[in-house]
Symmetry: D3
Subunit: 164 residues, 6 copies
């Protein structure tokens, strides 16, 4: 690995030491990030979550709140993240009965000097963890997959879409 | 879904309302949980992380610290989790060059009234998120998969191993 | 005021200086506290909350989660509180249509060296604040009243009931 | 309740799902909120607090610090609150000997995209809880009442005063 | 350095990787730690703090509260610290007019599986930082020195006193 | 002390009551602060840290991460500090073998309404505490000294350098 490659990881300085990158010169622009992820479970567990969503035992509703709150804790959890004043967070769930899987998608926004990818991804992770927590008494083998950034808008790097 | 099934989700009472489950009658025993998960990336990104691990730009070392700290924040992040005095947390990483993938495994332990699955899983999630954060400038398409509980010891439910 | 009276406020030492009181010699016993409080609003606001509770816009469900999470933050918020490993938290709401008022009641439990009154009261306060937050766009004049401890069990002081 | 009314609760989207409302388009203006609340106690307790305020055992001084710190934790406690960079927080107490009651008033300010009502109200609540905590050893029956927003300035909704 | 010496730093495993050390086998005993530290300032600044302590502008009282609260945040701040349920925290200040210096001493206690040195030291540090914060408008050159553990009781290592 | 001097401590109002100072009228400018401090230890301990830095048991790397994270917690720890969106944090260590001492220097930056001295100082303190924590098993007598602000740029008070 050459020196050049090392500096490509911007969270490290020329000596390879971690720092919180200087964003003071970046302009304050609207920035959006969309992330998603899934949790797979047994059909019986899926049925419980689904029915709860409509009537009682609202697993999905609680996971949504946990996700929103976690987005606000991102810079506390991820060591080199800048603190960011989020201006919007929205959390969507889709219930895929055929796959016995719940998909979560989070959109985070700010008007700031750096992007909100980590806020969106952290929210997805905590949404899935919260579903796991509430269902683990009946299904310890649930599995989280496909957690990734889907789209990113704003800032110098412009519009980015996964898979393009 | 019958009433019985609803009550199987122990985080909800008979009326389907969320609560922090009573664990006051459970005995204080040693409890262990092991969780794991992976993050996949481009071969170039993988090479940077791998070389950094040995010499400079220690992505893995920082992810380990973030994971340990996150394990202590679990009950803050997951709404219905009990606060638990962790007695041990260990975080291992394996670098799979063929798959261009980093695997993370966390072991959490307590001597307490309830298990530490969520602490182990939360630590894995934050380890992977931290790797994502530090490499995202060069690779936004990284993906987290296979996050799951591998093993659980202690408490009424005894020894549980994934896939058995 | 005499010296004796000053020392009656146990959070201050003989010199009147604040400290976190020594509870190391207290035994670990099961301790329970019940607190309650209310928020009054316009009938129109009450109707929105009530209908949301059943179908969509679940104000009450979100307030319940906020209350449970706040109970775990009590020693972070109240300077001289001891950190306490809660073993149970339950939050009940009653909708009083005649008074256009929502009543909240929280039961907190621990097996520990000191009581959980503050955890129960903090949870009630944050439940009411969360209701206020979600309804304030339509009703800024909502008012919180009657926040108090209702009952306390365990520890040297035994069973205490409000108004007795 | 019609659909229209549901959407009046801005913390829920058209499907009734909670979100952190988009404030990215709001302009950054100076915003002020004033909230107040009271705690009633036995005359003996009141006398202790009052005398401590002047000489030793400074209950009021500690409650003031707890209130200021709590105002900074508001978005951590209230699920759908935006994180806000407070530019000023002031906490006043008035001792009403005739009523054996302590009144607390908090003024919070920011230059931001959304109001600071929740910050002011949260600070009042934690001030009163802190007084309760420090006096509970001698008076468990204290009661908090009249917690409400008094005034609000700035933003689209302009100047709002309670009772007008 | 030999392998043996490396393992003397117990926060690293045999491979030199950081972990939260296993304390599950340690017995729960009463543990006490005393730490101290000082902040030096200009005589004019010292005079302000001293007079404020007695009459108005209570710098010392606020630093005491900040120290107690910080002791409860220790495991959040120090990556490899175990979460510990503190049973007592006391903070003393001595005003040394001749040296224009304020000395702070903190005693922390728990009944637990590991010591409370870090809790006592963290409290001292935050006490001094709080004094700095409140006086910095008039004296930016203040300096913190002599922050160290003075005494430690309980656990396998027994009684330790600085300088012996 | 005259009234005038009392008001020189800006964290207290005219009545001597603590408040979070109004910075709403200050302009948003780039602000920089540099702080430093040291920890002294036995030569054997120093040798372990030094060798670990290069090969295994990376005490310095972990202290750097803890410092960066602590800088983001400053307003949570120091009661009257404003929350500040840091735009950069860099942590340097120098190993002074002759003195068996590790020196830490932190640079913090923001574009905001108030300075970042406290963020830089808090990061230094937590860096030193983290080193203490990781080495305390072999050297309880380590001592932290010389923690002070070195330089400050931006805001009304302009450029300040220690000792000038």
């Amino acid at each position: 690995m050459t020196e050049q490659k090392a500096s490509a990881l911007t969270h490290f300085d020329a000596q390879g030491q971690a720092h919180m990158v200087d964003v003071g010169d970046k302009s304050e622009t609207r920035r959006v990030a969309v992330a998603r992820g899934s949790i797979s479970m047994k059909p019986e567990t899926f049925a419980m979550v689904k029915s709860g969503n409509a009537k009682k035992g609202d697993v999905i509703g609680i996971a949504r709140i946990a996700a929103i709150q976690a987005s606000k804790r991102t810079s506390d959890l991820i060591p080199l993240c800048h603190p960011i004043p989020l201006t919007r967070v929205a959390v969507e769930f889709a219930l895929d009965e055929a796959q016995s899987r719940i998909d979560c998608s989070v959109t985070a926004e700010t008007v700031g000097r750096t992007g909100v990818e980590m806020e969106a991804l952290t929210a997805v992770n905590v949404a899935l963890l919260t579903i796991y927590d509430m269902c683990k008494a009946v299904d310890r083998g649930m599995r989280m997959d496909g957690i990734q950034l889907m789209e990113k808008l704003g800032g110098k790097s412009g519009h980015w879409v996964a898979g393009q």
